[in-house]
């Protein structure tokens, strides 16, 4: 069984009507993974025994008819801690790390009866855009096994797109949910900063990191966001704003009539693939056809987003990753003569090149004599980027554009050139800097590979993005196309 013909609601109906048991569903999921993953490499750790045990318990007591997530198998990115289940952030530093608590999002999913089937591959500490920075394996794009799945949530994206699982959690600091969703033709939401607790998310850049759902349909995504969002005493950046039942607003009556959409000219500029542009322009026409207006707007500081981001994110990372010192947990070098060796050799052996690059960039940007020229300058440019978005969103309901300038590139093509890799995030990074919600939904194909459209909204207005995404999805059939087994599209 693949999940291609199913969504959360239809699976829930099957479970409640006992057309399938939770145990059979979980078994079928592990069968999918056993058949697909030896080549796809989406998973780092499987949770088979615990998942089957929980499934049997749920079958015993019956599936809660009022809870659409009860008994649903789901995958979790490996930088989100899971009690008793190895969590590595795809780093040698944490190769044998077994958390003693569940992240708040995991706790919420468990409460709803979701079954965690395993932990997905990613770029080490979520630093990268291709999942090639994993210390353990290279995940492939579900549509073409010679191409990258994107990153850093590449494992989650490939697992959903290939039909191994129906949904997964990812995290997004500069595009890490949206870009792999775009590359694999699925729906990925990076919610507003503060919408979801990050307690238990292994910190990369704390002013930017956000957790979010990755699914095949907009409605499934909305269901999951409602399930994991909300205030948490353990994360003081979480908002106390009420969490809407996002999916309840998605039905036959949902419409974009009268909505005003901004299409930034910078999002269709230099470096954006012609077929990607064509897909987005066609989507704009579709929205006009559906009764919205689309006009050209400008985000003049967008092009400075990548530079500001790599200063800010690297600075925060250099601070967050200081905790990996080889003492209390994580890798400890055996080659040590003194305490300094424990720190230096453990970190040198435990971290990969991209992580070292970012730690050094951050250390440099924060160091005496450079702070004002780099870190402070970047934080000021961040303010200007926020102002640009505010100006547009004052009189537009949301912004549309591509997620990434190109479709998925070939494995090995960009990994040795960090600058080229960094520029892939030019259209997603500004959204993190501004803390806005951003979503990727399938909007076409370029060179046979999926192209994602990005919808960007006002703070805490994921609702409008879901409505606009849902209406577009219902009016098109891009999301119905699925990769062939083995990625031979």
């Amino acid at each position: 069984m693949k999940y291609f013909e199913k969504d959360l609601t239809s699976l829930h109906d099957d479970l409640v009507a006992k057309r399938i048991s939770v145990t059979d569903l979980v078994k079928a999921t592990f069968d999918n993974i056993a058949a697909t993953d030896p080549e796809l490499n989406a998973f780092l750790t499987l949770n088979q025994d615990a998942a089957l045990k929980k499934a049997a318990e749920m079958d015993e007591k019956g599936v809660d008819a009022d809870n659409v997530l009860a008994g649903i198998p789901l995958a979790i990115k490996d930088n989100i801690v899971t009690n008793g289940l190895t969590t590595t952030a795809a780093s040698k530093m944490l190769e044998n790390f077994v958390p003693v608590y569940d992240a708040t999002v995991v706790k919420q999913l468990n409460k709803q009866g979701v079954i965690n089937v395993g932990k997905t591959n990613m770029d080490e500490f979520a630093m990268g855009g291709s999942t090639e920075n994993s210390a353990f394996k290279t995940t492939k794009n579900a549509w073409d096994y010679t191409r990258v799945p994107g990153g850093s949530s590449g494992g989650s994206a490939a697992a959903v797109a290939s039909g191994e699982v129906i949904a997964a959690l990812g995290s997004d600091t500069g595009g890490s949910i949206r870009q792999p969703s775009s590359f694999n033709g699925i729906v990925g939401m990076k919610p507003t900063y503060g919408r979801i607790s990050r307690w238990g998310l292994i910190a990369f850049a704390s002013s930017l990191d956000e957790i979010g759902p990755m699914t095949r349909t907009v409605k499934d995504n909305a269901i999951l966001l409602s399930a994991v969002a909300g205030h948490d005493d353990h994360d003081m950046t979480t908002s106390t704003k009420e969490v809407p039942d996002f999916a309840a607003e998605l039905n036959d009556q949902t419409s974009v009539k009268g909505m005003k959409i901004g299409l930034p000219k910078e999002y269709l500029g230099e470096g954006v693939d012609q077929e990607v542009k064509d897909a987005i322009l066609a989507a704009a026409d579709k929205y006009r056809e559906l009764g919205a207006t689309v006009d050209e707007v400008s985000l003049p500081h967008n092009k400075y987003g990548v530079a500001a981001y790599y200063i800010i994110a690297s600075s925060e990372a250099s601070s967050n990753l200081q905790r990996f010192d080889g003492i209390r947990y994580g890798h400890r070098s055996k080659d040590v003569k003194n305490l300094e060796d424990v720190y230096v050799n453990s970190r040198t052996e435990g971290f990969g090149d991209e992580v070292k690059r970012r730690i050094m960039l951050g250390t440099f940007s924060l160091s005496a004599g450079f702070y004002d020229a780099y870190f402070k300058k970047a934080a000021q440019v961040r303010t200007l980027i926020i102002n640009d978005f505010q100006a547009v969103l004052k009189d537009h309901d949301f912004i549309m554009g591509p997620v990434a300038p190109t479709p998925a590139f070939k494995i090995g093509d960009e990994i040795s050139d960090p600058m080229t890799m960094y520029m892939n995030d030019v259209l997603t990074i500004p959204v993190n800097l501004a803390g806005l919600p951003g979503m990727s939904i399938p909007a076409g194909f370029a060179k046979g590979m999926p192209v994602g459209m990005q919808l960007i909204g006002r703070p805490f207005d994921e609702s409008t993005l879901y409505k606009a995404g849902y209406v577009f999805e219902q009016a098109t059939d891009f999301h119905k196309q699925t990769p062939k087994q083995g990625g031979n599209n």
Binding site: F97, V98, V100, Y101, Y193, G194, S207, M236, T237, S239, T240, H301, Y304, V306, A307, A308, Y310, I311, D325, G326, I327, R328, Y329, G330, H331, R332, V336, K337, N338, L339, V342, Y343, V344, R347, T348, F351, K356, R357, I359, M360, L361, T363, F364, S365, S367, K376, K377, A378, A379, Q380, V381, R382, T383, L384, I386, P418, M419, L433, A434, G435
Partner: protein, 101 residues
């Protein structure tokens, strides 16, 4: 084009960050960091006179809570993650470098 960061500076930054680089790594990290810092310097094109820096975009300011400890009773599980532990303590190597006596 003048280089923005040289090998000596990269070595200094690496030591601040508790990382050690061999000669090959020092060479290629210097080239890469130099290129990336060049990208950083494009920010000089932007007039930021009088613009407040943004360090966080949360709508929550000064969130207070009771100072109550929770999550007790996990010391054994936590120690399992320590590279070396004995009798409820984390063990580290001798911290005085005897080779320099």
């Amino acid at each position: 084009m003048a280089s923005r960061i040289d090998q000596e500076q990269v070595q200094h930054v690496a030591s601040l960050a508790k990382l050690s680089l061999n000669d090959d790594q020092l060479k290629y990290f210097t080239t890469q960091l130099d290129e990336i810092i060049g990208l950083f310097e494009t920010l000089n094109e932007v007039d930021t006179e009088g613009i407040e820096p943004t360090s966080s975009v949360t709508d929550q300011i000064n969130v207070m809570r009771e100072d109550v400890a929770d999550n007790w009773g996990q010391s054994q599980a936590l120690l399992k993650n320590a590279p070396d532990a004995e009798k409820g303590y984390i063990k580290v190597p001798t911290i005085i470098d005897e080779s320099e006596d």
